[in-house]
């Protein structure tokens, strides 16, 4: 396997244009002769399928939900970045590029990031033209806010529903193409296998989730936009159905998986209330602008009502440890510190499996300083949501928060064209590894999904098809297609007929989640990772022996769907730990306890300035590592410090 990024050279601001000029095109009359499969209908997949259909290609688009409008992009709240500089506060494409490379802790590819910053401008134009009701100023111009500690106001938003509105824009564009007949939509279809023929991605095998029917779909190429893998942790802020199956199946067919250990833990989520908990809910980070984070100083106070703990006995640990940034330290720092105080026995809230995993986020000071009305205006919706879930009112008592997995920077390795290591396989959105390095800045995932979907993929897909022109015909009876079909059937059969069926798939998923959260979560060390690497294969064996799936494979069967996803998470989880163990440095969301300087992450550029791309070898314990070296011509690596 050879990793070639195909990134253009020369001045960074000309690279994308230069690349486009050198690319091949497909003439309009020839486009409808090409069949393209797009898996996923989120921001990346929805935008790509709509744009490719509009260009005249024959597109088939797939999603597991009952409608493409429900992809998990819908849940994004905060906003989307763009370097428009509408606020005249000195923003520019270069500054957004710079912030993103630095925010990613110097583990991303400069050319990709620059292109992302450039395209951010067009995304806003596109969304506005589609009718996305972004927030406006009284003068009628677009409003912005500053997000995630950025020094400029470059975040566009639609109330607390930015992801929903952007996705509906893409969904509407997609609907227009479905009506026009250029896109055929397959909702409630799950991709379970990639078809590779003659070294190229040529199709997928799906299972219809309504009828259980397994079908091959053959095409000229495949685009995966299937989202992230946060659900490997079982509890995360992702939707329940989010999975790694599409990318993992592709990985097993030869697509390298890059940087799997880079995951992002968001500091402000509602803590787990019990062992039955099915997911975690994110609360906007903006809460840290006015809330003060604390825990009791004394262990014996953790069960007291917070109102009864005197000021002197409260430990405002972020303010004390990071006087310059206080409660506004970056996501990873805030998350890790919550973990440490909880490990010290100072966590608050209910006991869940013997531990109290929560810290207070207190608005009492802000309310007395600004008045309840102001706080209600700023955070009313969030306070209501919190009360609906917990039954407590943050106007009266401090909120309880705790970190939760939220985003995965790792994903399938792609070159500058977003093509994976299997020719003809393209990957967009959260499913690929590009652009965010080891840490993603707030409001930049929506930007990346839409940049990939509207502006990059339509172009690079055309370039690929322009190069290959006609592919040899492939029919369903070809052995490459038949083996892929067979492997899906065998797997379904195996899942339904474990030798000693005992537990529902969730049982194993929860166990996996606990291992990964503990050993490959916010803070990692060699010993813990080695323990995880012993436990995961055992759990996987137990899963295949004892998983219990009721009902039949020829029917709507949600237990079977979940079992298949857990099976893949059980392999990906192992790769995450292998990658985390191998990366003997701390960077972004990857914090190795052995590599720190007084609690600050210690990067090791001399040895680890590379992308770790793992190749499947058939043995999950022994993947093969390939390295793509990273060089920084524009933004010189510096140390992050928030003290």
């Amino acid at each position: 396997m050879e990793l070639r990024s195909y990134e253009p050279t020369g001045p960074i601001e000309d690279r994308w244009e230069k690349h486009k000029e050198a690319s091949k095109l497909v003439a309009p009359a020839n486009r409808r002769k090409h069949n393209i499969i797009v898996v996923g209908s989120g921001l990346a997949g929805g935008a790509a399928a709509a744009s490719l259909g509009e260009m005249g290609y024959n597109v088939k688009c797939f999603c597991y939900q009952d409608s493409p409008r429900r992809a998990h992009s819908i849940a994004a709240q905060g906003g989307i970045n763009a370097a428009k500089n509408y606020q005249n506060d000195g923003d520019s494409v270069y500054r957004l590029f710079y912030d993103t490379v630095k925010g990613g802790d110097f583990r991303s590819r400069e050319s990709n990031v620059y292109r992302l910053a450039e395209l951010s401008l067009h995304i806003i134009d596109q969304a506005v033209a589609q009718g996305v009701p972004f927030a406006r100023e009284y003068g009628g111009l677009l409003a912005n806010r500053s997000f995630g500690g950025a020094q400029v106001s470059r975040t566009f938003y639609a109330r607390g529903q930015t992801g929903q509105q952007l996705l509906l824009g893409a969904y509407q564009a997609l609907s227009r193409q479905i009506e026009a007949g250029t896109v055929q939509m397959f909702p409630r279809h799950e991709m379970l296998e990639l078809i590779v023929h003659d070294g190229r991605a040529r199709g997928i095998v799906t299972r219809c989730l309504k009828t259980g029917k397994v079908t091959p779909h053959i095409a000229d190429m495949v685009v995966l936009c299937t989202g992230g893998y946060s659900n490997v942790f079982y509890l995360s802020t992702n939707a329940k159905g989010c999975n790694c199956t599409a990318t993992w199946r592709a990985h097993r067919k030869g697509a390298a998986f890059a940087n799997p250990c880079y995951t992002q833990i968001h500091p402000t989520c509602i803590p787990q209330a019990g062992s039955y908990q099915s997911k975690l809910t994110l609360m906007s980070e903006s809460l840290r602008n006015d809330g003060r984070v604390w825990v009791p100083r004394k262990k014996e106070d953790v069960t007291k009502r917070p109102e009864d703990i005197p000021e002197a006995d409260r430990f405002y640990y972020l303010e004390e440890r990071y006087p310059a940034f206080g409660n506004l330290v970056p996501r990873d720092v805030a998350s890790r510190n919550a973990l440490y105080v909880a490990n010290d026995g100072l966590g608050v809230g209910p006991l869940v499996e013997g531990e109290r995993r929560g810290v207070y986020l207190d608005f009492a000071d802000a309310i007395s300083r600004l008045g309840e009305q102001t706080i209600r205006e700023r955070y009313g919706n969030l306070f209501e949501m919190y009360e609906r879930i917990t039954g407590d009112s943050p106007y009266q008592t401090p909120m309880r928060i705790y970190p939760a997995t939220h985003y995965t920077m790792g994903g399938l390795w792609v070159d500058y064209n977003l093509e994976a290591t299997i020719p003809g396989l393209f990957v967009g959105g959260e499913a690929n590894f590009s652009d965010h390095g080891s840490n993603r800045l707030g409001a930049s995932a929506l930007m990346q999904g839409l940049a990939d979907g509207y502006f990059v993929l339509p172009f690079t897909v055309g370039n690929y098809l322009g190069h290959v022109r006609t592919l040899p015909p492939l029919t369903e009876d070809h052995p490459d297609v038949q083996t892929a079909m067979q492997s899906v059937d065998t797997r379904v059969h195996k899942l339904m007929n474990a030798p000693d069926p005992k537990h529902a798939p969730e049982h194993f998923h929860r166990e996996l989640g606990k291992i990964i959260w503990k050993e490959c979560g916010m803070s990692r060390n060699a010993e813990g990772l080695e323990t995880a690497l012993e436990k995961i294969p055992k759990l996987r064996d137990q899963f295949w022996r004892e998983v219990k799936v009721t009902g039949s494979g020829q029917d709507l069967n949600q237990t079977l769907e979940r079992a298949g996803r857990v099976a893949d998470f059980l392999e990906l989880g192992e790769l995450m730990c292998i990658d985390a163990l191998d990366r003997k440095e701390s960077c972004g969301g990857h914090f190795r306890e052995e590599h720190q300087e007084k609690g600050e992450a210690l990067r090791d550029d001399a040895h680890f300035s590379y992308v770790a791309a793992w190749e499947w070898t058939g043995n999950p314990a022994e993947p093969r590592l390939h390295k793509e070296p990273l060089t920084f011509e524009y933004v010189k690596p510096t140390k992050r410090s928030y003290k």
């Binding site: 709509a50 529903q161 007949g181 329940k240 009721t550």
Partner: protein, 261 residues
């Protein structure tokens, strides 16, 4: 946050598939903490059923935070259950009492055929959007966003209408199983925005025609839809849709557009 354990009895509509006979079956959910969400309570019941070798209750969900619109159960006769402005995935067990009997049914409407148990087919909603619920703008051809100022009040009102999550509770709650609130919300969102003007008349006409073709009933102003809507989508949009239709009729000298490729 007082933690309490309760027991509830569930009567759940079970139906193996479309056009198959269905009926209620009874399950006992024991030692349920009041901090559980309604769907987590069902998870617990289901996990128990699986371990006993019985097929679990099929119900739809994804985000579990009230935004994707996937979930939907009629709980004791009310779409999404007893709490106002709350999807069933955001409903928590503290809304119920110890010993309570709870009846769970799918959305019932001609336009939403049952798929299995509590799951229905809402693809009719997608086809209503495909019939014109968009603004035709080619990727990459948009002009600079701030060239067209839009009054804050207009954008805010459009956002109110655009907040619909497409869950279908309005249809389930309506005695006529009408999809008017859903359709009106999209027509209003787009017709309020200056970008949506060019296709305004055609859009209203075509979306309403599709709504009728899907077998959804007529609106006779019961207002049950608004009461059931988890996102507070207002009835005023239905009045607006009707005005849009009248306006479209006046303009109907231009032939209705056929499928535009």
């Amino acid at each position: 946050m007082a933690d309490e354990l309760i027991n509830v009895t569930l009567h759940v509509w079970r139906q193996r598939g479309p056009n198959r006979p269905g009926g209620f079956e009874t399950y006992h959910a024991k030692d349920i903490t009041t901090h559980m969400s309604f769907l987590e309570m069902l998870d617990v019941v289901n996990e128990d059923l699986i371990e006993k070798g019985t097929e679990p209750i099929a119900f739809d969900y994804d985000c579990r935070e009230g935004i994707c619109g996937t979930c939907g159960i009629v709980v004791n006769g009310v779409a999404h259950g007893p709490q106002k402005l709350t999807t069933v995935c955001q409903l928590h067990m503290r809304q119920f009492e110890d010993g309570q009997e709870i009846w769970l049914e799918p959305w019932r409407a001609q336009g939403f055929p049952i798929v299995k148990d509590l799951i229905v087919d809402r693809s009719g909603f997608d086809r209503i959007i495909q019939a014109g619920g968009y603004i035709s703008i080619r990727t990459g051809s948009a002009s600079e966003a701030n060239e067209m100022p839009i009054a804050k009040e207009v954008a805010d009102r459009a956002m109110d209408a655009a907040a619909c999550i497409g869950c279908g509770a309005c249809v389930a709650a309506c005695p006529n199983a009408s999809a008017s609130l859903f359709t009106a919300a999209k027509i209003s969102h787009l017709s309020l925005m200056p970008q949506g003007q060019a296709e305004r008349a055609d859009r209203a006409r075509r979306m309403v025609a599709q709504m009728d073709a899907e077998g959804f009933g007529a609106c006779t102003n019961h207002g049950e839809c608004e009461a059931a809507c988890p996102k507070g989508v207002s009835l005023e949009w239905i009045a607006r849709m009707n005005r849009e239709l009248v306006r479209a009729m006046v303009k109907s000298e231009t032939p209705a557009r056929t499928r535009n490729r």
